[in-house]
């Protein structure tokens, strides 16, 4: 009976957490940065505090893992970038996220296998990776990204390519590798997919594009489905990286005639 109550409370936390993240992102979208920041800070600290009381309980990994969601925004809001070359801004923001992600993965005892570092069935992983190009093309058609002139400057093109691949890897590492696995420890597969995708899509609300949010939600569902099927993230790391590359470099170069 007590166990059921605990799980019910943890499930309730998932809902409250998702709604709070959604609200904070809405505030951010409407330029209310201070409220959004305070709300994210509140979510971050409360998740950490609850996690400290949940040690050795089934939901411990969930509380610890979810901390990465508000932390992403706290970092990306609080770093001043005026006068910093654009190529460095993604590096500056992603370094602390990657380090914290690695710490969280270690704390919740996720192994390399859990994080999807399986290199068997290479053809299957490569095929999954190629899906990223298709998804990137669809996304480009939907949004017509106009940033190619920045990304395609020859002297920084190689750095951008590596960076976009790394950002794809980082998103998969955090959302599918850590958060999705944490949801799976408590919820059914279906619910875990929906919660992960909701959080993933919620963080794109500040783009103020409903289509973008919906696209992120669908992409996340597809990627979670592929992860469930393959039990490996190697292909998804590649797919997400290639998707970023297609949207921000390859498609603008081809379709906007920027050679």
């Amino acid at each position: 009976m007590k166990h059921t109550v605990v799980i019910y409370k943890d499930k309730l936390f998932c809902w409250v957490f998702s709604i709070l993240v959604f609200t904070a992102e809405i505030f951010l979208a409407f330029q209310n940065i201070y409220t959004s920041f305070i709300l994210y800070l509140f979510i971050f600290i409360s998740s950490l505090t609850i996690a400290s009381f949940k040690y050795q309980q089934p939901a411990y990994s969930l509380y610890v893992s979810l901390v990465l969601v508000p932390l992403t925004r706290i970092i990306s809001i609080s770093i001043p970038l005026s006068g910093i070359p654009e190529v460095f801004e993604c590096i500056v923001v992603s370094i602390p996220l990657f380090i914290t992600g690695a710490i969280v993965a270690k704390m919740v005892d996720l192994t390399y296998t859990d994080l999807g570092f399986k290199f068997g069935k290479l053809h299957s992983r490569l095929l999954t990776g190629l899906l990223g190009i298709l998804l990137g093309y669809v996304r480009f058609l939907l949004f017509q990204s106009g940033k190619a002139e920045i990304y395609a400057a020859p002297e920084v093109l190689i750095i951008w390519i590596l960076l976009l691949m790394f950002l794809g890897f980082l998103e998969e590492f955090i959302y599918r590798g850590i958060i999705y696995n944490a949801f799976l420890s408590l919820l059914s597969k279906k619910k875990a997919v929906y919660f992960t995708s909701f959080l993933y899509a919620a963080l794109t609300i500040s783009t103020k594009s409903f289509v973008n949010v919906l696209f992120a939600f669908i992409i996340s569902i597809i990627f979670c489905g592929l992860y469930n099927r393959q039990k490996s993230l190697t292909g998804l790391y590649l797919a997400h990286g290639l998707m970023n590359l297609t949207v921000y470099v390859i498609c603008p170069l081809i379709f906007n005639n920027r050679f």
Partner: protein, 87 residues
């Protein structure tokens, strides 16, 4: 990529909103608070010697999740502001 850095967060960062709204200062104060809490917890657990070492270690280690990124932000803001003044 959009979940990590979006156009709007990029615009805020380029406009140094964190300095204007003293968000960076708030984070640095929070970091100081976390260090104090960590010291307090370590001291508290050292007195309660009966508590399992594993539990102690993990509870204190949770603070690292906040401490490391906040310390990174502190260092970044410190060097950034120092360079701005030097210019």
């Amino acid at each position: 990529m959009d979940t990590i850095i979006t156009r709007s967060t990029e615009a805020f960062c380029r406009g140094n909103v964190s300095s204007v709204l003293i968000i960076d200062l708030m984070l640095i104060l929070l970091l100081a608070g976390l260090l104090i809490v960590q010291e307090f917890l370590e001291l508290n657990y050292a007195q309660r010697w009966l508590l399992q070492t594993d539990t102690k270690f993990n509870k204190v280690k949770l603070i690292y999740i906040a401490k490391i990124p906040f310390f990174y932000i502190f260092l970044y803001v410190f060097f950034y502001q120092a360079l701005q003044i030097a210019k």
